[in-house]
Amino acid sequence: MTGPGDRSDADPAQGAQAPSDGFRKGAFGVTGSGDTSGFGGLVRVEPGGAVALHSTERPYGGYFDEVTDALIEAVGEATYAAAVRRVLVDRGEITYFVEREHLLTLVQALRDDEALRFELCSSVSGVDYLDSGGPAAGPHRPRLHAVYHLTSMTYRRRIRLEVAVTAEDPHVPSVTSVYPTADWHERETFDMFGIVFDGHPALTRILMPDDWDGHPQRKDYPLGGVPVEYHDATIPPPDTRRSYR
């Protein structure tokens, strides 16, 4: 499968435009295969890939400014500047990209401060941004993101926090002390992505069997699967089918 991960060795003469953000290659310039349809190896990646790398400038609009101001007031300007690396407003949703050292300070303030009151932690999950386009995953662009969706029932607001860690050091503090509901969410995220939530009361697998190896929802987890014969045609396993990216 031709993925965006191998863009580094893409020959510019093949039509690959590989600036630091988005790129497109393949199509009719594809070589090395009999496929002239343009579908084999066609790769088009949006700037930044799945993870947007830019930051939104103030004002954010809507209630986002009120939430941000209240958050700054609650934790202090210095802590906020150290904790929140950047803020992204996209499609009417706000995402705070948070440093893991300050995560607990932030969620505690988000839950308890009178102007914030995010009483409900709707969801904690993970996303693996390995090879999602944009700069390659590495220490500067950690691939594993723990994503928190917080809901304020008092003000009817929603925000998203994201903490990014590398696969080599996948430690994030557990928020179960603030939001007990995160218990199973964090266990599932550990199970599926291998993100280790420090301070969780019993971080064990929850969906996969206890003795399972690996973390299935990581992008580099082998899918397995066998070719299936159907009506005299052989259908390859999903991860080796040609990809129309």
């Binding site: 949703e93 709707s122 693996d128 969706h149 809901t151 509901t181 069997p209």
Partner: protein
Amino acid sequence: MSTTYNPADPYAGSRETTEGRVYTVTGGDWDLTIGGDAVGEERLVVNMGPQHPSTHGVLRLVLDLEGETVTKARVVIGYLHTGIEKNVEYRNWVQGTTFVTRMDYLAPLYNEAAYCMAVEKLLGIEAPQRAQTIRLLVMEINRIASHLVGLATGGMELGALTAMTNGFREREMCLDLLEEITGLRMNHAYIRPGGLAQDLPEGAVEHIREFLEVMPARVADFHRLLTGQPIWQRRLKDVGYLDVTGCLALGATGPILRAAGLPWDLRKVEPYLGYETYDFEVPTADTADAWGRYLVRMAEVNESLKLIAQALDRLEPGPVMVEDRKIAWPAQLSLGADGMGNSLEHVRHIMGQSMEALIHHFKLVTEGFRVPAGQVYVPIESPRGELGYHVVSDGSTRPWRVHVRDPSFVNLQATAAMSEGGMIADVIAAIASIDPVMGGVDR
């Protein structure tokens, strides 16, 4: 016998013989050995499930019992894990619908709707008005079906078999309607990104109206059968108590939260599909127990009937799929000589008349459409609470990640809080009042 009680090793006294030291395992001295230990006399660990008729699905409970009192309840899940979230990453955006509908299999249309609304939010499009009204319509029929199954299986687990037979009988009416509209009783894949797979068939509106005439009497029958019945009341009242604080701490939403007194219903507080323009109430109770949850669900069935009637009145002729030919599935389904498939008219069009139509059809079917990069979280009110879809796109024809915040998964965490300290029989009532669907819990 020369064996003496040895405080260092109370279970095995010993004596010296010519062959060496001989140990004698003794018994009957439990009172001596237990001493001041907090463990009571009748501590028993019972494993319940995963194959058990009263655990509401493939759910395993590990219960610490003291007599009949539960001192510890631990929930073990994962027996129905099917990796749907991972699978969706290897299918195109339209195919995703057929996967997510199999998660919470008693509320399939909610999964489809939330997923499609998330994809539409990423695309920046909106389904046509008629499609939105029909979505609301089928979802409310689905809510009635789901609540009836919750009541039926809950009743069965408590020994009220007539509740089960009646509940499934009434639910069958809902499923007949959904089958007529979508073609399938469950796992419909009816709601698609951009609209619906097809319009309402002829006669569907009349059949829904007939259903609306019959159903209120059936709801009244349930009240006659169960609500006033002393056994039903005693099995549910003060069982599975969880107040608002507990609900928020444990993330419980839906009827559990509303039975604790908080009128938190996403259809009211964060309206979607035009719910803010409909006239309906959010039923609540103040008992915070299984009884309150039962009453809330029954009242919600009535509210859903109101919503269905209003949606029927609002149905205006119009398209049920967006106009954009780069997104809208090109073919209309029709019944041919060899079964359901693309309509003959469409096949004639692409094969004989329009090269562009053929190209569009081919591209959409093989490759699918692209969704601009980004992430969204779309929550809707499913019968069990907040159903949230966190969908990430990298700009390609497949989802980069789909995470489902399933209300059953979150609500089931409340099992320990609801049942510890109570009787073992009440564990069953408490779990039945959570109404978890294991397909959604394990995904």
